[in-house]
């Protein structure tokens, strides 16, 4: 019950703006502190007996890869909010999340390929995991192209919502089909049956970094949503002024 009332309260953009104005400085500070701790711990983590110092790329790579998929799920929830509940901020949330998700996906690809060069001997391999993340990246770009193709934001919002939900169904299909097709990337080692296989000296910095990156996403997302709301207000004010001058 409280969740629905909170969501209804947030439907008012002015209330959302004032709330986020109060929350954002704290979130930014928390993100900066956690990132600092995580980076410090990652730097102190021991070298791997096989991979040497390159194992430290993992502390950046894995949180980015997790978030690349998490952001699409956030956008899918926002798409449901647009289509089903017609929540006025849902399309703002979906639109603001897409470039951030694309950036996380891009960073996951770049750090992975930097790690792959010394370890696998190649920057790029048509491996299952790499390919499906690349397709995820393409779908983010397609979604952003869709947002940019239409001037009317509410019309673009509904089209983008349909595409986001279809993409949410398709992503697991792509993941498994590509798994079946070709594979080189190592299997999951943190969230698996029977507990993580990762040593504690790597696991703790990794989890700190994962939380820090999630906070980074929340901070960037809220800030981007504020910008989008303000951008829309500026747009409607400009329209009003233009029509007044015409009259």
């Amino acid at each position: 019950m409280t969740l629905t009332t909170t969501l209804t309260d947030l439907a008012n953009p002015t209330r959302f703006l004032s709330l986020t104005a109060r929350v954002l400085p704290w979130l930014t500070a928390a993100t900066a502190i956690l990132l600092a701790i995580g980076l410090y711990q990652s730097a102190l983590a021991p070298d791997d007996y096989q991979q040497g110092a390159t194992v430290k790329i993992m502390f950046i790579h894995v949180p980015n890869a997790w978030l690349s998929m998490f952001v699409w799920s956030v956008m899918s929830v926002a798409a449901l909010g647009t289509l089903v509940w017609r929540h006025p901020l849902a399309d703002v949330a979906a639109k603001a999340a897409a470039p951030i998700g694309a950036a996380f996906t891009f960073l996951a690809l770049v750090t992975g390929s930097l790690w792959g060069r010394p370890m696998w001997g190649t920057y790029w391999e048509w491996d299952a995991r790499l390919t499906s993340v690349l397709i995820l990246f393409l779908m983010y770009l397609g979604l952003m192209a869709l947002w940019r193709a239409v001037e009317d934001p509410s019309r673009a919002a509904r089209a983008a919502a349909v595409l986001t939900l279809v993409g949410a169904i398709n992503l697991p299909i792509i993941k498994f089909s590509v798994d079946w097709w070709n594979t080189l990337h190592q299997p999951a080692s943190v969230f698996r049956m029977g507990g993580p296989t990762l040593d504690r000296s790597f696991l703790i910095p990794l989890l700190v970094m994962a939380v820090a990156f999630s906070l980074l996403f929340v901070t960037l997302h809220l800030a981007a949503m504020r910008n989008e709301i303000l951008r829309r207000r500026v747009r409607s004010l400009q329209m009003m002024q233009a029509s007044r001058q015409a009259a």
Binding site: L83, A149, G167, I174, S177, W180
Partner: protein
């Protein structure tokens, strides 16, 4: 039911007549396949090895090319609004239109496959296998494609945007289509497994495609 059969018959008739453009897809398919030896070189052994992949890529691109006509013409002359307002559920009408589009534009591609297989040095068995996988797989391409077609018509944008949106969705179909053809021709994997997954993808797209297309039409037409 009669409304749906009438819709299917009407769409097929429009597609096959002058200005319909369903057969342009076959011509495009032929051109893509003919282009390949110029890019790869006229090495018959290599062409035979790449044959199934070339045929699948050509069919994918050809079915993409004709997609944006699916709702556009109906939108321009206003009949899409009539279809949306009629008592038949919009999901069923979308499914009927997709089926008609597949019959008019997809089946000719499959019929053309044996001839094109000859150009690519595929033997009769391999060509038959590719044609069979296309028969099972192209409905999935059409039924996921109508989502893109519906988005394109509500946004008044076709062409490249449609391609960018639809192509990533068709990757699984391509993977399993080529895998099944390869398995039938040479592969150590049995033909049945990728073929059944291909059929499953088509069945899933029968459900998801019309609903998503109808949703985007309903929200987008006003």
């Amino acid at each position: 039911m009669t409304a749906l059969t009438a819709l299917i018959r009407r769409d097929i008739r429009i597609a096959l007549r002058v200005g319909g453009g369903a057969l342009i897809g076959v011509l495009f398919f032929l051109t893509v396949v003919v282009l390949m030896p110029f890019a790869i070189g006229p090495d018959l052994a290599l062409l035979a090895r790449l044959g199934p992949a070339i045929l699948w890529l050509g069919a994918l691109l050809a079915s993409l090319l004709t997609l944006d006509r699916l709702f556009m013409a109906d939108h321009d002359d206003g009949s899409l609004d009539l279809i949306a307002m009629s008592r038949t559920p919009l999901e069923l009408s979308c499914a009927a239109k997709a089926l008609a589009h597949w019959i008019a534009a997809g089946v000719p591609l499959i019929v053309a496959t044996p001839v094109l297989g000859l150009l690519l040095n595929l033997d009769a068995g391999s060509t038959l296998a590719v044609a069979l996988t296309l028969l099972v797989g192209t409905p999935a391409l059409t039924f996921t494609g109508i989502i893109g077609a519906a988005l394109a018509v509500t946004l008044h944008r076709g062409g490249l945007l449609l391609a960018v949106l639809v192509l990533p969705l068709s990757i699984p179909v391509l993977i399993f289509g080529v895998a099944a053809s390869e398995a039938a021709i040479s592969g150590p994997v049995s033909f049945g497994t990728p073929f059944s997954i291909l059929a499953a993808l088509s069945l899933v797209s029968f459900v998801v495609g019309p609903f998503a297309a109808a949703a985007s039409l309903r929200h987008g037409l006003d």
